[in-house]
């Protein structure tokens, strides 16, 4: 998966939208390399159960580094249909392959309007550059 083809939220989740066998849209969600680099030293991740309903902008889990905890936010309304549960014991996969093996959850989208709020790669890059300058 190349980061250029993904969508991004303001809160640093990446999103890939696929169409499943039934024609529904499924969002695969992960954490951007920029955010993982900023977090560093991950020690714990908490992911939701399959079947949980999530809302765009609502927290679906938390990730902790040595020094702080961060919530992860759903970019869309929908239902969790898959969870990458092996990550909890293999947190290094997140930073090693953030856009592949580092995926967190798959969400069957019930309302696509959340997707309109997302940025393309170029716009996201710009946001990251601004955040770097603010530091």
């Amino acid at each position: 998966m190349t980061p250029e083809n993904l969508l991004y939220s303001k809160t640093h989740e990446w999103v890939r939208v696929d169409v499943d066998a039934s024609g529904g849209k499924v969002a695969t969600v992960g954490i951007s390399a920029f955010a993982l680099e900023a977090l560093t030293d991950l020690v714990y991740i908490d992911l939701p159960e399959v079947g949980r309903e999530v809302e765009a902008g609502g927290a679906f889990g938390e990730v902790e580094s040595v020094k702080a905890v961060s919530d992860m936010y759903s970019p869309v309304d929908g239902e969790i249909v898959a969870v990458h549960s092996e990550l909890a014991e293999n947190l290094e996969r997140l930073s090693e392959d953030p856009y592949g093996e580092g995926w967190l959850v798959k969400i069957r989208i019930s309302d696509e309007s959340g997707l309109e709020q997302l940025m393309d790669h170029a716009a996201y890059q710009k946001q990251c550059e601004l955040e770097m300058e603010d530091e």
């Binding site: 020690v43 714990y44 908490d46 902790e64 040595v66 020094k67 905890v69 909890a88």
Partner: protein
């Protein structure tokens, strides 16, 4: 921690070096300080297994000299320092009239190259202004200038840089730079030294075998103007030893594993020494100091809470200010918490009611609304293997 200084952030003499070497800078007690260069966990392990150096020039350094200095400090600090031997260092508290903790400090007694004795009080960065005000309150001009008992008080924080050199290889790193034999320097001893490196420009320095990591190590003070050169010399000499620069992030995980309190977390004006397990630092017989009468009374009754270590049984770390429960009832609160890189599990410090303070007691910590199982641990969480002269 909230900034206690108004105006722009203060910078240590190494600020430019930190930024040039990719440090992530944060506001700590009014100073712009590196929290980490790359990884907190890597910096932590480097200090546990080899050696790391940290810029701690934000720590306040207050110098006292003159014939009245010894008695003045004896009447300021909870620990009896009058009669402290040359080159010796003691951990002490400064308490207010109610016995609350204003700061925890190190006091050292040295002699300069001309044979003049002086004391250095190392205070927390966030408490520097408060302690300076406290000193001035107890050292009015009339007392400071009393004939034959003069006390000269100077805040030398900005004049001197200070580095922590910590880890089992710290003797190997520091020895080439100083003219005293470090092998024979005991823990909590120090010395005025010559710095054997051209970068020091023939200036002297002060070293002490002290630290805040639970590891063997030293703290080195050098003039601000030569600080960068001496720091770079340490990096250069330390390369074969595996030295890494380390930030405040690793300093916090290291001190937590070592069970050492941090002001603003385990210590505050609302906490008195017996609760914090620091009764041994209060010498209530002899010199009168602010808070002594209050502490004499407090000593009579058992404390209402005690500082304990907690090991969490899951992987989800508790942070500060989480409620601690037993059987659904609140019995205390955490003051610090992190993931221990050495023990590879979450650890925390907490104040709990004394009946729940025994090691092995099973408790629950409310971590943002979800209960996590925890057990009272014996402090420190981590104890280094001792060898040689270091205590």
């Amino acid at each position: 921690m909230a900034s206690t200084e108004d105006g722009p952030l203060l910078k240590t003499p190494l600020y430019d070096w930190h930024v040039a070497h990719g440090a992530r800078m944060v506001d700590f007690a009014g100073w712009s300080m590196p929290i980490q260069y790359k990884s907190i966990i890597d910096e932590h392990h480097a200090i546990r297994n080899a050696v790391g150096i940290a810029d701690i020039s934000h720590m306040g350094r207050l110098r006292f000299e003159g014939p009245g200095a010894a008695v003045f400090l004896a009447e300021l600090l909870t620990r009896r320092v009058h009669g402290l031997g040359l080159n010796m260092i003691r951990y002490s508290l400064v308490t207010n009239d109610e016995g609350g903790i204003l700061d925890d400090v190190l006091v050292g007694y040295y002699r300069n190259a001309f044979g003049q004795p002086f004391y250095v009080l190392v205070v927390n960065a966030g408490n520097r202004r408060k302690i300076i005000d406290w000193v001035h309150r107890h050292l009015p001009p009339k007392r400071a200038e009393a004939p034959g008992e003069e006390v000269l008080f100077t805040d030398v924080t900005r004049l001197w840089a200070m580095f922590a050199i910590q880890g089992p290889r710290s003797v190997d790193l520091l020895q080439p730079l100083v003219d005293v034999d470090l092998e024979y320097m005991k823990y909590y001893n120090g010395a005025q030294v010559r710095i054997l490196h051209p970068a020091a420009d023939r200036q002297g320095g002060i070293i002490s075998r002290t630290g805040y990591t639970g590891e063997d190590g030293f703290e080195l003070s050098v003039g601000a103007s030569v600080a960068r050169g001496v720091w770079e010399a340490l990096i250069e000499i330390g390369r074969p030893l595996g030295v890494v620069p380390s930030g405040l992030g690793a300093r916090d995980t290291l001190r937590l594993e070592a069970g050492m309190p941090l002001y603003g977390h385990e210590l505050s004006e609302e906490i008195q020494p017996f609760e914090a397990g620091l009764g041994r630092t209060c010498h209530l017989v002899g010199y009168d100091f602010p808070g002594r009468d209050a502490l004499l009374k407090l000593q009579e009754k058992p404390p209402e809470r005690k500082l304990v270590g907690l090991e969490l049984l899951g992987r989800r770390p508790a942070r500060e200010n989480c409620e601690v429960l037993s059987g659904g009832r609140s019995v205390g609160r955490t003051t610090s918490g992190t993931f221990s890189p050495t023990l590879k599990r979450p650890i925390a410090l907490a104040y709990v009611r004394p009946e729940f303070a025994a090691p092995g007691t099973e408790l629950t910590v409310d971590v943002r609304g979800r209960p996590e199982a925890a057990r009272v641990a014996r402090l420190p969480f981590y104890r280094r293997k001792t060898k040689g002269t270091a205590k």
